[in-house]
C-alpha cells in the first residue's frame, strides 16, 4: 500500500458510528481508481479515554502514516498527538474537535450545527414561544458546543423562553421519557430543541400526547425518522451531522500525505486547527429529496454526505 491509515473510534453505541467507519473504508477503497493504494486499519470499540489513547499507541506501534480519530475527549489527546507527530504521523480528528495543535480537525462545526436547528425552530415559531431543550450527555464537548449554539441563537429572540433543559444522554428511550415528563409539567410548550436519536424519542412522546400539530421540534436524520416525518407531516427540521465526516477526513488526509498543501490552512474554531465542512439542513422543503436519498436503506441508515475526492482536491493548491 502507498499509505496506511489508522481509524480510531472509541464508542460503538450507535449505528451512526458504524456507518461512519463503513463510509471511510469505502472512501479508502475508492482511491484505487486514482491509482493510490490506501490501506486502512480500524480500531473501534467501547473504550474510555485511556483506552483510546492506547488505540493511538497501537497505531504508532504498527507504523501507520496517518491516524483519523473520532475522539472521546477534546483535550486528552494533546500529549499523545504530540508523540504521534514527532513520529511523523499525520493526525486528523473528526466529528469532535481536539485542542491539540499537532492535529487537524476535519468535520462540522458542532456549534453551528446547534445554531442551525435553533434558528429553524425560532423562525418556525415566529420568534416567540416556550421552548424546552433535551440535550445529550452533560459535560460531553460536542453536547456543550451544540448547547452553546442554540443558546446564542435563542438569545437573539427575546420572546423565546427556554423553560427547561434536561439531559437524556443521547438515548432514544430516555429522550422519550424526558419529553413525557416535560409535556406533563409544561402543558404550554411550543418548541423543542432536541438532538440526534433522542429526537425520535421526543417526537414519539409528542405524537402519543397528540400534540404534533401544536409543537415544532427539531428532528434527526435516520431513515426511520425521516419516514415518520414524511408520513405524519411533522413540523420538524434537522441539521445534519453526516456520518460521512470520517470519509471526508480520509480524503483530506490522503491528499495531505501526498504532500499537497491546503489553499487555506485549517485555522478555524476555538482551537484554531479546524477545517469545517458544510452542514446540510433538512426541513419540510427538501424532505422529499432526503427521503429519496435514504430510500431502500435500513431503518438506522443516516442521511449522509461527504467530501468527494474531487471536492477535497479543490481545497488544495
Amino acid at each position: 500500500a502507498d499509505f496506511k491509515i489508522g481509524l480510531s473510534n472509541g464508542w460503538v453505541g450507535s449505528e451512526w458510528r458504524t456507518q461512519m467507519i463503513d463510509e471511510a473504508k469505502a472512501a479508502a477503497a475508492a482511491w484505487k481508481d486514482k491509482g493510490v493504494n490506501v490501506e486502512v486499519v480500524v480500531q473501534s470499540a467501547n473504550v474510555d479515554v485511556p483506552g483510546q489513547i492506547a488505540q493511538v499507541r497501537n497505531f504508532m506501534s504498527q507504523g501507520v502514516n496517518a491516524i483519523i480519530i473520532n475522539p472521546n475527549s477534546p483535550t486528552a489527546f494533546d500529549p499523545i498527538f504530540k508523540q504521534a507527530k514527532d513520529a511523523g504521523i499525520l493526525v486528523i480528528a473528526t466529528d469532535a474537535e481536539v485542542s491539540s495543535k499537532d492535529a487537524t480537525y476535519v468535520g462540522i462545526d458542532q456549534k453551528a450545527w446547534g445554531a442551525a436547528g435553533a434558528k429553524w425552530l425560532a423562525e418556525t415559531l415566529g420568534g416567540k414561544g416556550n421552548v424546552v431543550a433535551i440535550n445529550g450527555v452533560a459535560g460531553h464537548p460536542a453536547n456543550e458546543m451544540r448547547v452553546a449554539g442554540y443558546k446564542e441563537v435563542f438569545g437573539k429572540y427575546p420572546d423565546i423562553k427556554i423553560v427547561n433543559e434536561v439531559n437524556a444522554n443521547w438515548d432514544q428511550a430516555q429522550g422519550q421519557q424526558a419529553m413525557q415528563n416535560l409535556l406533563a409539567t409544561y402543558p404550554d410548550i411550543n418548541g423543542v430543541w432536541v438532538q440526534d436519536g433522542m429526537a425520535a424519542g421526543a417526537w414519539k412522546s409528542i405524537i402519543d400526547a397528540g400534540k404534533q400539530s401544536s409543537i415544532a421540534a427539531t428532528g434527526e436524520i435516520r431513515k426511520d425518522f425521516i419516514d415518520i416525518w414524511t408520513k405524519d407531516k411533522l413540523n420538524s427540521g434537522a441539521s445534519v451531522n453526516p456520518p460521512g465526516v470520517m470519509a471526508s477526513a480520509l480524503n483530506v488526509a490522503v491528499l495531505m500525505l501526498q504532500g499537497k498543501e491546503l489553499k487555506e490552512p485549517a485555522a478555524a474554531g476555538q482551537y484554531k486547527n479546524a477545517m469545517y465542512l458544510p452542514i446540510p439542513f433538512i426541513d419540510s422543503k427538501n424532505l422529499p429529496e432526503a427521503a429519496k436519498a435514504v430510500d431502500g436503506k435500513p431503518g438506522y441508515y443516516s442521511f449522509t454526505s461527504q467530501l468527494s475526492i474531487e471536492d477535497a482536491e479543490k481545497l488544495f493548491k
Binding site: 453505541g13 449505528e15 438515548d171 432514544q172 428511550a173 415528563n181 409539567t185 424519542g201 431503518g299 438506522y300
Partner: protein
C-alpha cells in the same frame, strides 16, 4: 404504668413493625414523592402523567423481576448482563417483527429463548464453573455489548409492530395499557412462584444456606441456573416492551437498566445477600426510582445539580432499608 398503657404498648409495636416493612416504607415514600412532585411542578401527579410514569416503571420493574430472583438465590447473586440482554432483545425483536403485527409472537419466542440462553450461560458459569456472579455477568455484559455491534453491522434493524407499541402505550383495559397489566400479572406470578411453589421455597433455601439446601436434596445447580435463565428471559421481555415503547431499536438501550434494576430490588427490601425479600417490594422500588428520576427532570436545575440531588437522595432512601445489623446486637 396503668393497665391501659401496658395494653397499648404491643399495639404500638405492631404499628411500628408495620411501618418498618420495606413495602410500606416504599409506598409511603411514593406518596410523599408524588406530593413533592406536584408541589414542585403542578400537573406532575395528574392521573395521565402517573400512568406514563408507571409504564416506564413497568419496564424497569420487569427487568428487576429477574434481577430479584437471582439476588434471592444468594451466593452474591447479581446479574449485570441484563443491560446487554435488554438491548439485544430490543434489536432482535425489531428485526423479527419488522413492523408487522404478525411478527409479534415469533419475536416474543425468539427474545425469550435468546434471553434464557444467555441466562443459561451465566448460570452454567456461576454454578458449574463456580465463577462469582458479579464477575460472570460483568464479563457477559462485555460479550453482549460486543455482540450488539456485530449484529447491528450484520443485519438491518427493524421496527416495532403497531400492536406492540399500542400494547405499551395505549389504554387497554380499565384505562390501563397492556404493559401495566402484564406487570401486574408478573407481580402475581412472582408472588405465587415464591410463596406457593416448591421452586420458590427452594430459591429461598439455596439463598439462605446453599450447602444445607444441597444436603436436604435441593437441586442447587438446577435451581440457580433456572434463576439466571429467568433473569435473562425477563430482561428480554423488558427489551421487547422497550422496543414497543420507543418504536425502533437502537444501540445500548438496555444499559440504563443494569444498576437501577438492582437499586429497585434493594429499595424493595430484598438485601443483596439473598434468601430474604420478595417481588412486591421490588415493584414499589421500581416506581419509587422512576418517580425520583422524573421529579428531577422536571425541576429546572443544572444537570450537575440533578445528579448530586439524585445521588444524595438515593443514599438517604437507602437508610430506610436493608441497613445491615449492627455487629454488636
Amino acid at each position: 404504668m396503668s393497665a391501659d398503657a401496658l395494653a397499648s404498648k404491643p399495639a404500638q409495636n405492631a404499628v411500628l413493625a408495620f411501618l418498618k416493612k420495606p413495602l410500606v416504607v416504599a409506598l409511603i415514600l411514593i406518596v410523599l414523592l408524588l406530593a413533592v412532585g406536584e408541589w414542585l411542578s403542578p400537573g406532575f401527579a395528574s392521573p395521565g402523567q402517573v400512568l406514563r410514569l408507571l409504564i416506564v416503571a413497568a419496564l424497569l420493574g420487569i427487568v428487576a423481576a429477574g434481577q430479584n430472583l437471582v439476588i434471592l438465590g444468594g451466593r452474591e447473586g447479581i446479574d449485570l448482563s441484563v443491560g446487554g440482554i435488554v438491548s439485544l432483545a430490543a434489536i432482535l425483536a425489531g428485526n423479527v417483527m419488522n413492523g408487522a403485527d404478525g411478527g409479534i409472537l415469533p419475536a416474543i419466542l425468539v427474545c425469550i429463548v435468546v434471553g434464557a440462553f444467555f441466562g443459561l450461560i451465566n448460570g452454567v458459569g456461576v454454578t458449574l464453573l463456580r465463577i462469582p456472579p458479579l464477575v460472570m455477568t460483568l464479563g457477559m455484559l462485555g460479550v453482549l455489548q460486543g455482540l450488539l455491534v456485530v449484529i447491528r453491522n450484520g443485519i438491518p434493524s427493524g421496527r416495532a409492530a403497531p400492536g406492540l407499541s399500542d400494547f405499551v402505550v395505549k389504554p387497554f383495559l380499565l384505562g390501563l395499557p397492556g404493559i401495566i397489566w402484564l406487570w401486574l400479572l408478573i407481580g402475581l406470578a412472582m408472588a405465587l412462584l415464591l410463596r406457593r411453589t416448591v421452586f420458590g421455597y427452594r430459591v429461598y433455601a439455596i439463598g439462605s444456606n446453599e450447602q444445607a439446601a444441597f444436603m436436604a436434596g435441593v437441586p442447587v445447580k438446577t435451581i440457580r441456573i433456572a434463576l439466571f435463565m429467568l433473569s435473562g428471559a425477563f430482561a428480554a421481555i423488558a427489551g421487547m416492551c422497550l422496543l414497543g415503547y420507543s418504536g425502533s431499536s437502537f444501540a445500548n438501550v438496555g444499559e440504563q437498566y443494569m444498576l437501577p434494576s438492582i437499586i429497585a430490588v434493594v429499595l424493595g427490601g430484598t438485601p443483596l445477600s439473598g434468601g430474604k425479600g420478595g417481588y412486591t417490594g421490588t415493584m414499589a422500588g421500581a416506581v419509587l426510582l422512576v418517580l425520583l428520576q422524573s421529579i428531577l427532570t422536571t425541576v429546572h436545575i443544572d444537570e450537575s445539580g440533578r445528579q448530586m440531588v439524585f445521588g444524595a437522595t438515593l443514599v438517604a432512601l437507602m437508610l430506610f432499608y436493608g441497613r445491615a445489623k449492627a455487629m454488636r446486637s
